[in-house]
């Protein structure tokens, strides 16, 4: 018996969008107590399909065909009043960004109690008491304090737990979870996934889980739907889809997942390091400057030391707030370190300034995370690629020739020179960013979450490009990432950071399979989809 049944659903986009439908020909069933994962890359229409179930589509986007049958009624034909009754009571929803999904000016307890109020349940003191038990149930430490707290006082994981408590308040039949762990650290993600799984078991609630991450899918899904540009390309049980994918798109997605296994131990380099970091420290103080405010002190980098050898790629991994990005930014002097030495080709660039810094820094270039903010929207690609060399004194014609070569190297056509960044896709923009870094002939590349904003298939291509370039140009690379899978794919050695300090360093295979520290082990354990990966490897 199915709880929810969707047939031939079509959702139209407003006129002038890049395609007529956000999703079409969508048909699937949801049975009580099951977890159905809808997987797809950005723009696949996965969120829109789920939002339609709640009658919560963005303005201008509307369903134009098909039926959504829930409890014998077509949701698409319900009045607004009937929908109000449905929302929060029979079907509820949690979102990707738990901070922005909570009202910043309202206490957590009041926001939970509101669900009961919306449906006219309980008296105010009862609502409060229920809010407290709900917070306990979702595993918030110190619920008595949390109920009085404002969202900004909670951590990301705690906020997502509050969202879940709110969604569970009236014991709905269906929970729709729209990328609920994407904004969270990997260990927090594992906890939230476990919570959703437990609650499903305890309450027999059905879950529609929307995600782009096959690892997450493998860990929690009973059934899977794969979507591509608004259409369902494949569906079936988790095992069918994940282990025996039929559609080429599904296969491509699964192949693109970076594997944790299969690294070879690279012999330690014997030559002199190209980069030596000794005792690097950086502390941020915020809130000072006023007469009374006590400054908030964050020790972002504490006594970090390591060597990077020629041709080597080191991965710096850690959760948000571990200081991994600050290390990279200190090395590039985008942030000035408080103390420590950064030796590049014999010079300590941590203590240089002016012309000398400029001359030395050239050897050390960065690739950035966000392909949409890393290129000046008002500059043509030709200017983006030649500006640096010209600033360092290269003749214009020479810089232009070199720029064309670089475009070829990163897999773009020379005609890209005359175009503006907005004319390119995210992956292409990232390639332009790589070309810009290479334009100055650096010996060291710092890649700060360089593939984190990309879809998994594009991610794989960019990682391949980086690996290829680093061998061909014998570059040394510092690869900063939160994603151990990505690190596994490209790094020779891995540095694990926590709260500003290095907790473990070692060859990739060693750190990923036999770490020395409990913290590294906990990070590893939290990576979703490991069992699945072993199953895949076993299947051949």
């Amino acid at each position: 018996m199915s709880l929810l049944s969707i047939r031939d659903l079509a959702i139209a986009l407003p006129k002038g969008a890049d395609r007529p439908y956000a999703a079409h020909d969508i048909s699937f069933d949801l049975t009580p107590g099951e977890i159905l994962c809808i997987v797809g890359e950005s723009g696949s229409g996965k969120s829109m399909s789920a939002n339609a179930v709640m009658g919560l589509l963005p303005q201008g986007v509307r369903p134009v065909g098909g039926t959504i049958t829930f409890d014998g009624q077509d949701v698409l034909r319900l009045s607004e009043k009937q929908l109000l009754d449905l929302r929060g009571r029979r079907i509820s929803m949690i979102f990707q960004e738990p901070l922005s999904a909570l009202n910043p000016l309202m206490r957590v307890g009041a926001q939970i109690a509101e669900v009961f109020e919306a449906h006219g349940r309980l008296t105010p003191p009862e609502r409060r008491a229920r809010a407290l038990t709900l917070l306990e149930e979702v595993g918030i430490p110190d619920p008595q304090a949390a109920i009085q707290a404002y969202p900004f006082q909670l951590s990301g994981g705690q906020r997502q737990r509050v969202m879940i408590a709110m969604a569970l308040a009236l014991e709905p039949d269906i929970l729709i979870a729209d990328e609920p762990t994407t904004a969270l650290d990997v260990t927090t993600q594992a906890q939230i996934l476990k919570l959703i799984e437990d609650l499903r078991q305890a309450r027999g609630m059905a879950v529609i889980f929307i995600t782009h991450d096959f690892g997450v899918v493998a860990d929690i899904a009973d059934r899977v739907i794969v979507m591509q540009t608004g259409e369902i390309v494949e569906s079936g049980t988790a095992d069918e889809v994940l282990l025996r994918p039929q559609h080429p798109y599904t296969r491509a997605l699964i192949d693109a997942i970076p594997r944790l296994t299969g690294q070879e131990d690279t012999p330690a380099a014997q030559s002199d390091p190209v980069l030596s970091v000794e005792g690097l420290n950086k502390t941020f103080r915020t809130g000072s400057g006023s007469f009374f405010g006590k400054p908030r002190v964050v020790k972002a980098v504490q006594d970090v030391s390591f060597d990077l050898f020629p041709g080597e790629t080191i991965g710096i991994v850690g959760e948000s707030g571990s200081g991994k990005s600050t290390v990279g930014r200190c090395l590039a002097r985008l942030v000035n370190p408080d103390s420590g030495r950064v030796i590049v080709e014999g010079a300590d660039i941590a203590h240089l300034s002016g012309a000398e810094l400029r001359a030395r820094r050239r050897r050390l270039q960065m690739i950035f995370q966000d392909p949409f903010s890393s290129l000046n929207p008002r500059a043509r690609v030709s200017r983006i690629l030649t500006e640096g060399p010209i600033a360092y004194g290269a003749p214009r014609t020479e810089a232009m020739t070199r720029a064309r070569e670089l475009l070829g190297m990163v897999g773009l056509d020379a005609s890209a020179m005359q175009r503006f960044p907005h004319e390119f896709s995210g992956g292409q923009r990232q390639r332009i960013g790589i070309a810009r870094a290479l334009a100055l002939d650096p010996s060291i590349i710092i890649a700060d979450e360089a593939v984190s904003a990309l879809d998994v298939s594009i991610q794989a291509q960019v990682l391949d490009l980086l690996a290829d370039l680093s061998t061909r140009l014998s570059l040394s690379m510092l690869f900063i990432t939160h994603d151990l899978r990505v690190a596994a794919r490209i790094c020779d050695r891995i540095i694990v950071m926590q709260k500003g300090a290095i907790v473990e360093t070692g060859p990739t295979a060693k750190v990923l399979h036999n770490p020395d520290t409990a913290y590294a082990q906990s990070l590893l354990d939290a990576i979703p989809g490991q069992e699945y990966e072993r199953a895949l490897a076993g299947a051949g």
């Binding site: 929302r87 449906h119 405010g293």
Partner: protein, 323 residues
């Protein structure tokens, strides 16, 4: 929270000090004899008065000594002497200040309350004829010179229709007391306060409308909808409270403008406040009064700012609990 407010108070004191220094520098930067500037056009003719001023402010002393004398006086509310009116400036201002506080206070509250209500109404029905009407009116008020709308209002409602008094603070010679007096003042207040408030109402309306529309696109509004809350509840409890934050900030920034407007409104309606005092002083080149009013108006603006800061802190827990 107390820290935040204390911080603002300290800042306010510094700004007042800066205004005094600014005034002092102006007196000395002005073309001609500083003593003549202090005495004003009328006083400058009296050599004895000028000599007296030179001695009192030590105008032959080095500049920093003079500054010190000037600041010391100002702190003791010695804002100079109006030769023209034969009264200390502080006395003149103290007499006129209540009328200005009444006018600006009423106009401020009126414009804020009506502006927010109109903005909420317009945003709730975005694109409807009601929204268009409110937005068009706001656009018109925003483009209308304040003194002109005041003139036209007194012409229409006072001269032609004879509905409301268009002149002064109370009926001359009526000698009302108690409630009758209050009603009389209120009647006199209607035109000045409304015309002063219109321009600011337009600003607050536009800000509220834009802010409501902005907030209504945020994620937590979607959460509220997913809870099954009614539209009205979402509007009031979730959107409005968040949308008010930038409006409060703007209201604080606009406090100074309201006082500037009061100079014009008081001039047109002969409202006996410090704005009118300033207008008279301009015509009489009574510089001590002009500078005194400027200083006091700065203090008033800081007071308004402080009030909006307190309101902001009450509304936003992020400042209340961390500042």
């Amino acid at each position: 929270m107390t820290k935040f407010i204390l911080g603002r108070l300290v800042k306010a004191v510094f700004i007042l000090l800066a205004i005094l220094i600014f005034n002092f520098l102006l007196i000395h930067a002005a073309p001609g004899d500083p003593a003549a500037v202090m005495a004003g056009e009328a006083g400058a003719a009296d050599e004895k008065f000028l000599a007296d001023l030179r001695e009192r402010f030590g105008l032959d002393q080095p500049l920093y000594v003079q500054l010190w004398t000037y600041l010391k006086g100002a702190v003791q509310f010695d804002l100079g002497f109006s030769y023209r009116q034969q009264l200390p400036v502080s006395q003149l201002i103290a007499d006129r200040l209540p009328a200005t506080l009444l006018l600006t206070g009423v106009a401020f509250v009126l414009s804020l309350v009506l502006g927010v209500i109109a903005g909420v109404a317009a945003s709730a029905r975005q694109g409807s004829w009601g929204d268009t009407a409110i937005s068009t009116l706001a656009l018109l008020f925003y483009a209308t010179p304040l003194f002109w709308v005041a003139l036209m209002a007194s012409l229409v409602f006072s001269v032609w229709l004879e509905w409301l008094p268009g002149f002064g603070y109370a009926t001359i010679g009526a000698n009302y007391t108690g409630f009758a007096h209050a009603m009389d003042v209120a009647k006199h207040l209607v035109l000045p306060a409304t015309t002063l408030g219109l321009f600011f109402m337009a600003i607050y309306m536009r800000m509220t409308r834009a802010s409501m529309l902005e907030v209504s696109r945020l994620d937590f509004v979607k959460t509220a909808r997913a809870k099954g809350l009614k539209r009205g509840v979402i509007q009031r409890r979730h959107i409005l409270r968040n949308a008010l934050l930038p409006v409060i900030t703007l209201a604080g920034l606009q406090a100074g403008q309201i006082f500037g407007g009061a100079i014009l409104t008081e001039t047109v309606f002969a409202w006996p406040g410090i704005g009118r005092l300033m207008f008279e002083a301009i015509n009489q080149r009574d510089y001590a009064v002009i500078l005194g009013v400027f200083y006091i108006s700065g203090a008033m603006v800081l007071l308004f700012n402080l009030i909006t800061d307190v309101v902001y802190v009450i509304v936003d827990p992020r400042i209340r609990l961390t500042g």
